[in-house]
Amino acid sequence: MATIRTRPEGTARRTSPRPPGGRSWTATTLTGLGLLVLLAIHMVANHFVVRSVGGLRSYHQILEYISNPAIFTIEAIFLLFVTVHAMLGVRGVLLDLDPSPRAQRWIDAALVVLGLGTLAYGYLLIGTLASRA
């Protein structure tokens, strides 16, 4: 049976288009899965290792802890994951309010700025503390 091409090459209709927000959902899920591990390490190391009330570390114990290169790296990755996950989550909540495309662009820009600001402050904080040890 002969077939006639009615559609130009390369513009074939996708049979299973990506759902709206698919990339955002995937990023939220992947950072969330990473956070399960990183947050578990963070919580156990900061609240369940040291023998003190609430497992909280003293000032010098914190400096010693954060100056360990492995811990510093883990905490830095944890901060990145938690910030990205938080910004994507807040974006999801705000987009559910059905903003206009213009407002949506503002939301995206504001969350990028907030996220970068959070990362900058967080890295400044742990970097300063690690350098004091």
């Binding site: 899920t29 919580m43 009330v53 909280l56 000032y59 910030t83 909540v93 904080l125």
Partner: protein, 149 residues
């Protein structure tokens, strides 16, 4: 407690066995908002609770960064904070934080498994089983935190 009628006036679940489009309270978020749990099934409650705990954790993230700023001021500021942070009331907030983390994290596992199609038809069973795991973890954590006093 009386059940509210569905969008077609029929009782909720009446059309569950019928083929056809899924009946729901309209497209997207209902006018009452996602945070209104009234008349919702377990999935709606789980979603609303996930959002509430998520927003709470975002608030805590910035609160935590603010508190950690005390470390930059030196040992004295941190020691003063520790005196407050080790009070019974403050440790209770720690337990509340762990509750939020456990709920959001375990429900996130459920959403990932269901949303990715790995366990698409076991939403309810997942919610309850992860709920049991979360409750056990919360009790262990709370007993450890309060027991450290």
């Amino acid at each position: 407690m009386s059940e509210r009628p569905g969008p077609t006036g029929a009782a909720p679940g009446e059309h569950r066995d019928e083929r056809g489009p899924v009946l729901r309270k309209g497209v997207g978020v209902p006018t009452s908002g996602w945070f209104d749990p009234r008349g919702r099934a377990l999935g709606g409650f789980a979603f609303a609770a996930n959002r509430v705990t998520g927003l709470g954790l975002v608030f805590y993230l910035y609160l935590h960064l603010g508190v950690l700023s005390l470390l930059l001021r030196g040992e004295g500021s941190w020691s003063d904070f520790l005196r407050i942070a080790t009070s019974w009331a403050f440790l209770s907030l720690d337990v509340l934080l762990i509750l939020g983390i456990l709920y959001h994290g375990l429900n996130g596992i459920r959403v990932a498994l269901v949303g990715s199609g790995i366990v698409a038809d076991r939403q309810r069973a997942l919610w309850w089983s992860l709920g049991v795991i979360g409750t056990i973890a919360l009790v262990v954590s709370a007993s450890h935190i309060y027991g450290s006093r």
